[in-house]
C-alpha cells in the first residue's frame, strides 16, 4: 500500500482518488488547427496557442467535475510513441503502415543510438500544473512500448533497444521531478502482448524509476492479463492503471486467487463505447472491485484514454466516475475507520 508514500510526497488524497488515464479528445478548433498546420497554412506559434487553449479547457473541466488527480490531456500529441520518437535523436518516422481498416500511421524507425534531447514533456506539465492547485500527473510512454511500436534497425535485439530507451526515458522522469512533478505515469500498453518478455518490461521500468522520489503509475491495456498476472506486479511502480470494465471485470477473478499487492487505478467505465454508463452500473463495478481490493489501495478512472470519444462523451464519462465515487466514499471511509 502506497498511501504512506503519497503522504510523504505531500499529498492528502481522499479515499478512492479519481483520475483519468491521460488523453482527452482534441476540441474541433484544435483539430482544424492541426490540419492547417500540416498544410503549412498556420505557424507553429498559432498551433501552440490552440493547444494551450485546449489544455486550459481540459484542466478547468477536470476541476469543475471534481477529479482529484489531473492530466494535461495530451493536446500536443498525435500518437503516444511518435510524439517521443519525433523528438528523440536516433528515431526517424517511416512511411505509412496500417493500424486497421483505412487507418494508417507513420511508424518510427530506430536508425541510430537513441538520445534524450532535453525535456520533452516538462514544459506542458508546468503549463498545466500552473493552472490548478490539484496534483497534475507527469505523462510518459514507457521504453518497452516505444521499442515494441518501432522498427529497430540499430540495436542488436529488442532487449538492447528497450534498455537503451529506458536510460533516456529516465532522464525525462528526472527532469519532471526536478520541475516539481511527484506523480508520474509511465504507460506500457504493449506489456501484455508478449508474456515471455515481461521480465524485460520489469528490467526497463527499474531503469526508469529506481531510487527516484515520485509516486509511479503505469497503464497497461488490451487484456491478456491472465498470462502475466501476478508476475506483472513485479514491475516497479506504485500503481497499476488497468482496464477492468471492458472485459466484464474478469481481472477480479485473478485477483481473488492472487492478492493485488500494489495500488490500482480501477477502470470503471468502458472507453470503447459511445454509451455513457449510469451511476449505478459504475458503482456496482467499483463495489465488486472492493470485494477483492482494499479501499485504501484503489483509485478510480476510465478504462483507457478518452481521446477516441467526443468531448461531450468524455466529460460525461468522467462525471459518472466522480459521482459514483463520491456516493461510495462515505460508506467505505466509515468501514475502514472501524477496521482501524
Amino acid at each position: 500500500m502506497s498511501r504512506k508514500k503519497l503522504k510523504d510526497l505531500g499529498f492528502d488524497l481522499p479515499l478512492l482518488p479519481t483520475t483519468t488515464v491521460g488523453s482527452f479528445p482534441k476540441p474541433p478548433e484544435l483539430m482544424r488547427a492541426r490540419a492547417e498546420f500540416a498544410k503549412g497554412k498556420i505557424t507553429e506559434a498559432e498551433l501552440r496557442a490552440e493547444e494551450e487553449k485546449a489544455t486550459i479547457f481540459w484542466v478547468e473541466k477536470q476541476e469543475e467535475i471534481g477529479v482529484d488527480v489531473l492530466v494535461d490531456g495530451e493536446m500536443y500529441r498525435g500518437d503516444m510513441v511518435a510524439y517521443f520518437a519525433e523528438k528523440m535523436p536516433g528515431f526517424v518516422l517511416g512511411d505509412l503502415v496500417r493500424s486497421y481498416g483505412n487507418r494508417y500511421y507513420h511508424k518510427p524507425i530506430i536508425q541510430s543510438e537513441v538520445k534524450w534531447p532535453g525535456p520533452m514533456t516538462v514544459g506542458w506539465w508546468k503549463f498545466a500544473q500552473s493552472r490548478t492547485r490539484r496534483p497534475m500527473k507527469g505523462m510518459l510512454t514507457g521504453p518497452y512500448t516505444i521499442m515494441d511500436w518501432s522498427f529497430n534497425e540499430h540495436y542488436v535485439d529488442r532487449r538492447a533497444a528497450c534498455l537503451a530507451i529506458a536510460e533516456e526515458i529516465r532522464k525525462e522522469v528526472e527532469a519532471l521531478i526536478e520541475a516539481g512533478a511527484k506523480i508520474i505515469q509511465v504507460d506500457e500498453p504493449a506489456t501484455s502482448v508478449r508474456p515471455e518478455e515481461l521480465p524485460l518490461v520489469v528490467e526497463a521500468m527499474e531503469i526508469v524509476t529506481e531510487g527516484l522520489p515520485a509516486y509511479f503509475i503505469t497503464h497497461i491495456c488490451y487484456g491478456a492479463f491472465q498470462k502475466i498476472y501476478p508476475q506483472m506486479l513485479d514491475i516497479p511502480v506504485d500503481n497499476f492503471d488497468l482496464e477492468l470494465s471492458n472485459n466484464e471485470l474478469s481481472m477480479l477473478d485473478l485477483m481473488k486467487k492472487n492478492r493485488f499487492s500494489k495500488d490500482i487505478s480501477f477502470g470503471a467505465v468502458d472507453v470503447h463505447t459511445h454509451v455513457v454508463e449510469d451511476i449505478d452500473t459504475v458503482k456496482k463495478r467499483i463495489v465488486q472491485g472492493l470485494e477483492v481490493l482494499d479501499p485504501e489501495q484503489v483509485w478510480v478512472d476510465p478504462d483507457c484514454g478518452l481521446k477516441t470519444r467526443t468531448v461531450e462523451e468524455s466529460i460525461e464519462k468522467m462525471r459518472v466516475v466522480v459521482t459514483a465515487v463520491k456516493q461510495l466514499r462515505t460508506r467505505y471511509v466509515k468501514s475502514t475507520s472501524q477496521v482501524q
Binding site: 517511416g94 512511411d95 505509412l96 503502415v97 496500417r98 493500424s99 486497421y100 481498416g101 483505412n102 494508417y104 511508424k107 524507425i109 515494441d148 511500436w149 522498427f151 529497430n152 534497425e153 504493449a190 502482448v193 508478449r194 488490451y222 470503447h272
Partner: protein, 326 residues
C-alpha cells in the same frame, strides 16, 4: 533441390507516392458519400495490380494478391459467412494492428465464394503463379465471440464449422487452378492444445484440395516447441517463422524434414535488412538437411506491417539471397 522465392501473404496497400494513396482516398470519400462502392473496387484493383507488379518486379517466383481487399486477417472471410456479424476492434497478436471481431450468432454456413473471384483477377494480372492465402479455422475461431449456444461449450464444433466454410473456399480455389493454397494458423503457436484440431481441419481440407498443394503457415511466435507436430500435420508445405528463436535453424536442420518448407528467415515485420551472408549461410544449412524436392524462401509474415518502400526492399533482398544460394 529447387528453391523458390515467394511472399507470405499481405502487401502494403498504401505508399508515399500519390498513385498509392488512391485506395485510402476512395474509402474515405465513399464513407463521406462522395464516392461509390464501385470506386472503391476500382481502387482495390489498382492497388492489387501495383502489389503484384512489385512482387513480380522484385523477382518472386510465386506471388499473392497482397490481400489488398482484406480489412483484416479475420473479418474478411468470417464476415461473409452466414450467422456472423462483425464487432469492434481487437489487437491482432503482437502486431499493434487491429482486427474486427466476428460474433458467431448461429450455425456457421458458407454462402458463396469469397476468395475465388479475387484469385482469378490476380491470376489475370500476374506473370507468375499466384498463391491464394486464407486464415485457418482455428485462428478464426480463437478470435471470435461466440453467442451461439451450440458452440459455447464446444470449441471443436465451432472450429469444424468454420473449417467447412474454409473447405468450400479451398475447393473453389483448387477448381480455379491454384497450385498452392496457403492456410495461416498463427494461433496454434499460442495454444499447443489446438494441434489435434489442426490435424483434423487440415485432413478435411486435403480431401477437397484436388491437384493443389496445401501450405500451412504459422508465424508471430516460435514454432520450435511444436515443430514435429507441425511437420507431421497433413499439409504438403510447412511455413515457419524463424524470427522468434535463433536456435530454430539448428533444430529444423537436425530433424531433416522430408516436406517442402516455407522458410521465414527474413523478418516481415522489421525494416532492417538482414545480413545477407548470415541468411545465406543459414539457408544452406537448412537446405542440406531437407530432402524435399523444393523449398520456399519467404518473409516471416505478411508484409503489410512494413512501409511500402521497405516491403519492396525486403523482397528484393530476399530474391538476391535466394539467387546466391539457388
Amino acid at each position: 533441390m529447387k528453391l523458390m522465392a515467394t511472399n507470405t501473404g499481405s502487401y502494403p496497400r498504401i505508399g508515399s507516392r500519390p498513385e498509392f494513396q488512391v485506395l485510402r482516398q476512395a474509402i474515405a470519400q465513399r464513407d463521406k458519400g462522395t464516392k461509390t462502392d464501385a470506386d472503391v473496387k476500382a481502387a482495390e484493383d489498382a492497388m492489387t495490380r501495383a502489389a503484384i507488379e512489385e512482387q513480380t518486379g522484385s523477382g518472386l517466383d510465386m506471388v499473392t494478391d497482397g490481400q489488398i481487399r482484406w480489412y483484416d486477417p479475420i473479418s474478411h472471410v468470417a464476415g461473409k459467412l452466414e450467422n456472423i456479424t462483425i464487432n469492434g476492434l481487437m489487437r491482432y497478436f503482437d502486431t499493434n494492428s487491429y482486427f474486427r471481431q466476428p460474433v458467431v450468432k448461429g450455425p456457421i454456413r458458407w454462402k458463396q465464394p469469397v476468395l475465388r473471384p479475387d484469385y482469378e483477377k490476380a491470376v489475370a494480372l500476374s506473370s507468375r503463379p499466384v498463391k491464394p492465402v486464407l486464415t485457418g479455422a482455428i485462428t478464426l475461431a480463437r478470435h471470435s465471440i461466440v453467442e451461439h449456444p451450440g458452440y459455447e461449450s464446444d470449441f471443436g464444433s465451432l472450429v469444424r464449422d468454420y473449417n467447412m466454410a474454409i473447405a468450400q473456399e479451398v475447393k473453389e480455389l483448387a477448381a480455379a487452378g491454384a497450385a498452392v493454397i496457403q492456410i495461416d494458423e498463427p494461433v496454434v503457436l499460442k495454444n499447443a492444445g489446438d494441434l489435434p484440431l489442426l490435424n483434423e481441419t487440415l485432413k478435411v481440407l486435403s480431401q477437397v484440395k484436388g491437384k493443389a498443394r496445401l501450405a500451412l503457415y504459422v508465424y508471430f511466435g516460435d514454432p520450435g516447441p511444436v515443430l514435429s507436430a507441425l511437420l507431421d500435420s497433413p499439409a504438403d508445405i510447412i511455413g515457419l517463422d524463424f524470427t522468434y528463436n535463433t536456435k530454430l535453424i539448428d533444430q529444423v536442420a537436425a530433424v531433416r524434414p522430408k516436406k517442402p518448407l516455407g522458410l521465414g528467415l527474413l523478418d516481415g515485420r522489421n525494416t532492417k535488412l538482414e545480413n545477407a551472408d548470415q541468411v545465406a549461410k543459414s539457408l544452406e544449412r537448412l537446405l542440406k538437411g531437407i530432402s524435399a524436392e523444393e523449398c520456399y524462401l519467404n518473409p516471416s509474415s505478411g508484409l503489410e506491417y512494413l512501409p511500402r518502400d521497405r516491403a519492396l526492399q525486403k523482397l528484393k533482398h530476399l530474391v538476391a539471397i535466394k539467387n546466391r544460394v539457388a
